[in-house]
Symmetry: C2
DNA sequence: GTGAAAGCGCTAACAC
DNA sequence: GTGTTAGCGCTTTCAC
């Protein structure tokens, strides 16, 4: 189109020097005379020159860009993780290219492909549901770190996650210590993290001698799905609901209340994630908190490491979750 | 580095044809014999060929990318707007490149610069606080649409926003109809949108003959700031709080309750934005709802239009907000 | 149908 | 210090 943006060539002619000298000057090389440098900088400024990243990337064969795929921007969890690595990467001169694919696995793959076409130097994948095989293929091309998921066992993929199994144990032990036995798990649906949490629930129940009480109601990671799952779970009158994540837990609470029951007097509810959403202050949700920002920070650290020495072995970073006791859990009702 | 990603040249040699034929075939040109096409596609697949976006962008001088600057991913408002244009742009073959700058105006400018270096073909700016002069400079280089803000009067910038003035009138009229007169506005701080909403409040109060009751307490757009502002406002015991946005309103409610007051029996609260956050279902916030996804959709429409015919005059799209009466507003207490 | 060649804007040897 | 040159991977005339 009318793309008459000034190029390095324009700056060169305007300041009466060669292209390469402009390049040198603009990259702050010491081997440029002060006079030339000044003239060049002046010309660049007047022209409103802005380097073309595509051209540079093509030439140096480095994009200095990290691609980030986020599952769902609606869940504050992701915004918090993002906080963690965005600034970190920026400090190291990397731009982050952020894409989302809604809830569509095909699009997800598609977006990763686009990221790769842009020659990103690394990939941070947050809570996707891509099969391990695809991830492996991708990781061959570019350093990849997967956040909030540690079920990937590839020598080329780093993972940064909290220990969901241990986290769930925290939740169940807490409920058991309050006297609960009829603890139902509202699952997060068919994705790796949710599978893990469901397993954590079962394991912890078994460890507490409550194997017979294990009951999992299929749910999802959204508020609406938490609501529906809770409504179903309630037909058997459990005394506690252990929910796959905070957002769904909020939905569960709504369901409990519309059933005319009180939280935590009649039913206790515990979530997972530890989002610091304002609205939660009021709900005062008991939950298992992940160090979200730290998760992001560590992801940046891993990717940076891999980008700089591509041969390093992959690492699996585990951060521990902690129990955050607030107002939605209480003693089991003594019916 | 070890960048041995296959190029079009590799595909060419492997399939025994020329570079240009590969390009033609891969772009689906009809003037390629079925035989060649098949061979080329097979080679591309086997090699795992992926076109280099930087090279293409350089060659065709189009990036097919739209840059998006979002103020703060934590506020669900932005995620919803994003939903609106992301899919729209994708359908039209554009990739969106998303950046955030936290709460830092300098970084914001910096990020825009980066976007421009990547040769984005359009810019969508969401609720930034950049001065009009900067915006103007940017809009000269690339089609720009500003969302949720309409105080920009540049012939080259499109705006897509709701009518904050009218929205505030809705809020105040609602409260007045419930018998309230002591209505305090908790402002959103020093940014264009908040200024507008504050003005809307004042205007509407005046229109209702309540000019003397006008009182604005400086706040902010986060839950914490809403909490603090409400705490201050409460010292004068208003009967209603009209808050700059939903998130801050949630904070305000928390403040009211910790002061031992009830919502809405003692104090009514109305927010602004109409976020569909799960947690809100429980709080049941009365608010002025903006058509957020639609706002995003229209932004995409505008940018697409401008990209395709750069000479079109800029437009100012106004969408109307609507009153969403829920549980946090009620009749003024009959002290 | 297919190939050769030029060029997008930049960087990086390499000469001078 | 400064200029020349080649080349990054791709698209796109233009011949054949």
């Amino acid at each position: 189109m009318s793309s008459n943006r000034p190029t390095i060539r324009d700056v060169a002619t305007k300041s009466g020097v060669s292209k390469s000298l402009v390049a040198l000057a603009l990259s702050g090389s010491p081997k440029v005379s002060p006079t030339s440098r000044e003239r060049i900088e002046k010309a660049a400024l007047e022209l409103g020159y802005r380097p073309n990243a595509a051209a540079r990337s093509l030439s140096v064969r480095r994009s200095r860009t990290i691609g980030v795929l986020i599952l769902d921007l609606h869940n504050p969890v992701f915004a918090e993780i993002l906080d963690g690595f965005q600034s970190e990467l920026r400090e190291h001169g990397f731009t982050t290219m952020l894409v989302t694919a809604g809830d569509n696995p095909v699009l997800e793959l598609n977006e990763i492909d686009k990221l790769l076409q842009f020659q990103v130097e690394g990939l941070i994948l947050i809570s996707h549901r891509l099969p391990a095989s695809v991830l492996h293929d991708v990781s061959v091309e570019v350093p990849t770190v997967v956040v909030t998921r540690d079920d990937i066992v590839s020598a080329r993929i780093d993972t940064v996650s909290n220990d969901d199994l241990a986290g769930m144990t925290l939740a169940i032990d807490h409920l058991v210590s309050l006297g609960h036995t009829d603890i139902v798990h509202l699952s997060g649906g068919d994705n790796p993290v949710s599978h893990l949490r469901a397993k954590g629930y079962s394991d912890a129940m078994t460890a507490n001698g409550l194997k017979k009480h294990i009951r999992i109601v299929p749910g999802g990671l959204t508020e609406a799905k938490g609501y529906r799952a809770a409504a179903e779970a309630l037909t058997h009158r459990p005394t506690a609901l252990c929910v796959a994540n905070d957002i769904a837990a909020i939905g569960a609470i709504a369901a409990i209340e519309s059933a005319g029951l009180r939280v935590p007097e009649d039913v206790s509810v515990i979530g997972y994630d530890g989002i610091t959403l304002g609205a939660l202050r009021r709900i005062n949700l008991t939950t298992v908190g992940q160090p979200l920002t730290e998760l992001g920070r560590r992801a940046a650290e891993r990717i940076l490491d891999r980008v700089h020495n591509p041969t390093t072995e992959s690492q699996r970073v585990h951060l521990s979750a902690e129990l955050v006791v607030r107002g939605t859990t209480g003693p089991a009702p003594t019916s």
